[in-house]
Every structure is written in C-alpha cells, then in structure tokens.
C-alpha cells in the first residue's frame, strides 16, 4: 500500500534542530484564511452522500475513558461492524481505538469483520513515563493483536528543544510495533504555535510515523482546521520530496458531519485526492459517528431523524 521512507537517524540534536528550524515558518494568518476559505465549500446531495460514507469508513471509533469496561468495548465493536442496524448499506468504520489493556477484548469482538483494532500506548495521554514502560506498553498491545498503535510524543522534551530524545523514542516505539502501523500523536494543543506543529510533523514523519495525529482528545484545543491544514501540507511536501505517503488523523473536536466534510475538503485540496482513503486519512471520534448516521438517514429518507433512534456509545 504505502512505502515508508524513514530518514536516517540524525547524528546529533544539533543536526536535527538545524533541519527542523530550517523549515519555512508558517504564516498563521494565511493558514487561518485558507482554512476558512475551504470551509465555505458547498457539498450537497450526491457529493454529500459520498462524503458521508467516506467519512464513516474513515472513523476510528474511540473510547478512552477511565471507566471503560469490556462490555462497553464489545458494544463499540458491534457498532463499528454495523454502525446503523436499520440500514445494512452503511459501511463499517476503519478501526476501534481503545486503551492497551482492552485490546484483547476488542480483537475478539471484531474478528473477521475487517475492522482494525488500534490501541493507544506509551503512557497515553501525558506520555510521562520511562521509555522502558512505554515500550512494554506497546509490545503488550501488539502481542494482544493491535494492528495500529497510537503513541504520544514527549511534549516536554519537544518544547525544551530536546528533539533527539523525541526522535529516538519514536524510532524505538516503531521498532516495538513490528508490523503494526504507528500513529504519532503530536498533541498540537500543547505545542503553542503552528511552527511547532510543522516541526513536530516533520520530526515524526522522518522518525518513521505511518500516520501523524493531532491530539489525544484530552487537551483543548484539539483538531483545529489550521493544525490539520499544516499537517496536511507536511505530508504532501514529504511525498513530493521522497515519494512516500504518510497519513493524517485529526482527533478530538470533530463532532458534526459539517466538520468532517470540511476536513475532507481540506484533504483533497491541501494534500491531494490520494489521501481520500481510510488508509491515509482517519478521523478519531466517538460522537461524530451518530451525527454522520443521522445525516445519512436524512439524505436517504428526506425526514429529520432524532438521536433517540441511534445507539448511545
């Protein structure tokens, strides 16, 4: 599907710093204007129906609560297989995303469905743990059958300028992942500037990320249009330089069909149409799915559906 082009490990923090700070600065006003301009695109009727189905196929249906139970994960898995029980034409979602101790439950519930199991790992959401603990967390999730690992970067090290530490951690986790796909969570809400978002994107891509992901969902702001746009620019630029395709996953704060469709418009316009694929673009969400299904029903039947007619997850 996609070839990963992991750049050679940087020789020193200095070399990595020179590369990241040598990236062109982000024009924050220009990015905000571009994102606002793309948000005005009108997507209606058949195009809207296609966009909704694509968005459903891109959803990483997520539950990351301290109160998660095996029962809740099984219920979520049932919803992932068949999001709308009343309408078999609704496609299944891309993946179910859970904490690493619930991976085995999710894998069992999703066997044979084609829906992947993703697990957050590496001391999610803070990322404050020794590297050994992070690697053990990752290996356990992979051993239990997770096909995708969502890791968090060490924002403290990143903001302190210790880019090499972040780089080495990502490489170590990538190695621990084996065949599993690695999504690297930048937690853009804590990175303060779009320049930092661009640098963190490049850092993660060069260290071997299969996906770069905006946020944990535990910090606000999460996936703002501006950060998604900057990350999409990074993966496009990386493709232009190396030919390798890296995916993008906004997570947190995308709750309505309108938000999801605006993200798809950005993907098409900023990264390119080849990213309009669940293999290269995912949306981390839980409440978004019901809104997508309600809009789907609205398009199909012509009447407004109510939330009482869809499962609460």
């Amino acid at each position: 599907m996609q070839q990963t082009a992991i750049a050679e490990a940087p020789a020193s923090n200095r070399a990595l710093r020179d590369f990241l700070h040598g990236l062109p600065g982000v024009d924050e006003v220009g990015v905000a204007k571009r994102a606002a301009g793309l948000a005005t695109r009108s997507v209606k009727t058949t195009a809207k129906a296609a966009a909704i189905d694509l968005a459903v196929r891109m959803v990483d249906l997520t539950t990351l609560e301290g109160a998660d139970t095996p029962g809740k994960v099984r219920a979520l898995a049932a919803k992932a297989r068949r999001p709308d029980p009343a309408d078999p034409s609704a496609p299944p979602v891309a993946a179910v995303c859970v904490y690493s101790d619930l991976v085995a439950t999710a894998v069992q519930a999703l066997r044979g469905s084609g829906v992947a199991v993703a697990s957050v790992a590496t001391a999610f959401p803070a990322g404050r743990a020794p590297l050994e603990a992070k690697l053990a967390d990752t290996r356990r999730a992979v051993a239990d059958g997770a096909a995708e690992i969502d890791m968090v970067i060490d924002r403290g090290a990143f903001l302190a300028g210790d880019y090499l530490k972040v780089d080495e951690e990502i490489r170590a986790v990538k190695e621990a992942c084996g065949a599993a796909h690695l999504k690297v969570i930048l937690e853009t809400g804590e990175l303060a500037t779009l320049d930092n978002v661009r640098r963190a994107s490049w850092l993660a891509i060069r260290a071997g990320a299969d996906f770069i992901k905006t946020s944990t969902g535990k910090v606000s702001p999460a996936a703002t249009p501006q950060t998604v746009l900057v990350m999409l620019q990074a993966v496009r630029e990386h493709r232009d330089r190396t030919g390798a395709l890296v995916g993008v996953k906004p997570a947190g704060g995308i709750r309505t069909t309108k938000d999801a469709v605006r993200n798809l418009v950005m993907v098409n316009e900023i990264a390119g149409p080849e990213w309009l694929d669940p293999a290269l673009f995912r949306i981390g969400a839980s409440s978004l799915l019901n809104d997508l299904l309600m809009q789907r029903t609205r398009l199909g039947t012509g009447t407004y559906p109510g939330p009482d007619y869809f499962t609460i997850d």
């Binding site: 009447t303 407004y304 009482d308």
Partner: protein, 325 residues
C-alpha cells in the same frame, strides 16, 4: 446550482440592507431633512426588524428570506422573517436542548415564570393591542379585550402548573402490599401550529398549556399575522423563561409543518392552525408515533379551556412501590 446560490445571496442582502424590515413608520414619524437655522430636528424613526426566536436568541432566517405582512385591510405592516426547514431543524434542536432543564424545574417555579410572562405582557399592553388590532382588523376596544384575555390565559395556566398532577395523577387503589402512583410527565418537544384566525389569544391558548407542564415548544406563528407572535417572543425573552423552551418560527405553515410533522425528534404535534393540511400532517406524524392534537371545528378561544389542551401533551408514568412493614 450557481444561479440558486446567487439568488440566495441577493435575498440575504435585501433582508440585511435593502427594504427595511421593520413596520412602516407611523404617519407622524416621517424622516425630514435637517433644517437650517437651528430649529430642532425631528428624530429618525427607529424601526424594528421582526426576527425569529430560537434558543433564546433572535436570529434572522438562515435562508436570509423575508416576506411582507399586511394588515386586514391590505396595507403593508412590516417584513417578517420567512423561516426555512433548516430554521425548523435548529428550533427543534434548541427545544430538545432546553427540555431537560425546563421539565426538571419544580412545577411551582414554572408557574412563577408563566405568571411573569403575564406581568411582562401587561407592561406592553399598548403594543400588543396595536399589533392585534392591525393584524386582525379589530377595533381598538376589541383588541384591548383580546390582550386582556391573553394575559389572563397565562395566569390561568400558571395556576395549573402545580395542580395538574393532583387532578390527572394520584395514588391508585390496588390490592396487595403496594403503593401505586400515577404521575403525569411532559411528552417532550411539541410542535405547535398556531391558529390562523386569533393571532394573540389563540396563540397564547395553544402555547401556554404546552409549556406549563414542562414540554418545550416549536411554535409556527399564524402565517398572515405573525407580528403579535414576535411581540410575544420579546415578552417571553424577558420573563425568566429559559432560552429554547419556546422557539418561534414565522413563515409559510405549508412549508414548515411537514418537516416538523416528520421530524423524529419531535414528540407531539398540535395542529390548531394546520387547516387543510391536518390529515396529511397527521399521517406524516404517524411514522414516528407522535401524539397529535387534531384541530377543533370553529374553536371559541375565549371559552374556559379547562384541561383540554394540557392532557394531550402528558404521559402517565405509573410506579409500584412495596409497602414496608
């Protein structure tokens, strides 16, 4: 597609800047050029834009459309917002959001707020009388009487809020070691089509009983006489009534009602102002098992309503409870 969009834009512009959407200025309030020589200038008239009332705010229609409202003798009174199906959708969402809080209030508190609406209307008598007279073609004393009756109707339903449970609910006599209680509960979001012929008294008569018991309402004003309804919304907004409990749409009943009747998040439908559409709307409402109140034949809005408009929008919950030793 592009053409339609351009049309929409133009319509939006017209509503924003072009034709004034307020009522036509009274004869004495015409605008005059500033005179030379220090003579006092006449004020520029401040005219009202008649808007919708959704979620406690007064937005224009999402579509940017408006329509001309005429008095009974055909004179232009004002432009009112012409609500679209998306405004109806937003109104339902606002009503659903407000339902938990409003139905969770004590009945006594709801009564206080309904009485407060009466107080606010009393303070705006002159405005209500003028708008009712203009809309219905009634002479001023008759309009005054209609305003009084409408205010009294709020007081009437304010009194019912904490008494209805005793009348339609209660302890049931059962054989066995149990208490058995029946408790009336609000149905949920009620779409109300206001009567077309009684712009103020009819409006209050259908709205007050719905919200008195804790329902929230999406109210479609009388198509040809929406201005008293807009004035009522202004009174509601200053009555401690939480935003979203009453949501007012002005526009074409035939355009809005089918969407509300079929909407799965609307729990009940009052067809008072449905006219010829009643049967069709009742059919659409059946798909989602809504409670439907059919329109009366030649209703007399000034008559004592009793509980006839309260009970159709109540659900009875019956609870069994073991009797202790």
């Amino acid at each position: 597609m592009a053409e339609k969009k351009a049309e929409k834009k133009r319509a939006g512009k017209a509503a924003d800047q072009g034709a004034p959407t307020g009522p036509a200025p009274a004869a004495g309030a015409r605008r005059e050029r500033p005179r030379q020589g220090g003579a006092p200038r006449e004020r520029v008239a401040v005219r009202k834009t008649h808007k919708l009332y959704i979620g406690g705010a007064f937005p224009r229609s999402e579509s940017g459309r408006s329509y001309s409202v005429a008095s009974a003798d055909g004179a232009h009174l004002a432009n009112a917002a012409l609500a679209s199906r998306k405004d109806a959708r937003d109104a339902v969402a606002a009503a659903r959001k407000a339902f938990g809080g409003w139905s969770g209030r004590t009945a006594y508190n709801r009564g206080q707020i309904l009485y407060r609406v009466a107080e606010m209307m009393e303070g705006r008598r002159a405005q209500f009388a003028a708008e009712t007279a203009a809309a219905g073609g009634a002479r001023r004393p008759e309009a005054e009487a209609e305003v009084s009756a409408a205010i009294d109707r709020w007081v009437y339903y304010a009194g019912w809020t904490d008494k209805v449970a005793q009348v339609v609910g209660g302890a049931n006599p059962v054989s066995g070691p149990y208490h058995n209680h029946s408790v009336p509960e609000p149905t949920g979001v009620v779409a109300v089509l206001a009567p077309q012929d009684a712009p103020l008294l009819g409006l209050v008569s259908v709205l007050a009983p719905v919200i008195a018991t804790g329902n929230t309402a999406v109210l479609v004003a009388a198509e040809r006489a929406p201005l008293p309804a807009v004035a009522l919304a202004e009174a509601l907004a200053t009555s401690d009534l939480p935003g979203g409990v009453v949501n007012l749409l002005t526009g074409r009943t035939a355009e809005l009602a089918p969407h509300l009747a079929a909407h799965a998040d609307v729990n009940a439908l009052d067809l008072a102002g449905a006219g010829d559409l009643a049967a069709e709307l009742e059919e659409a409402a059946a798909d989602t098992l809504k409670r439907v109140l059919r329109p009366q034949q030649a209703p007399d809005w000034s008559a004592d309503p009793g509980l006839s408009r309260i009970t159709p929008f109540l659900e009875t919950k019956t609870v069994w409870h073991p009797v202790g030793l």
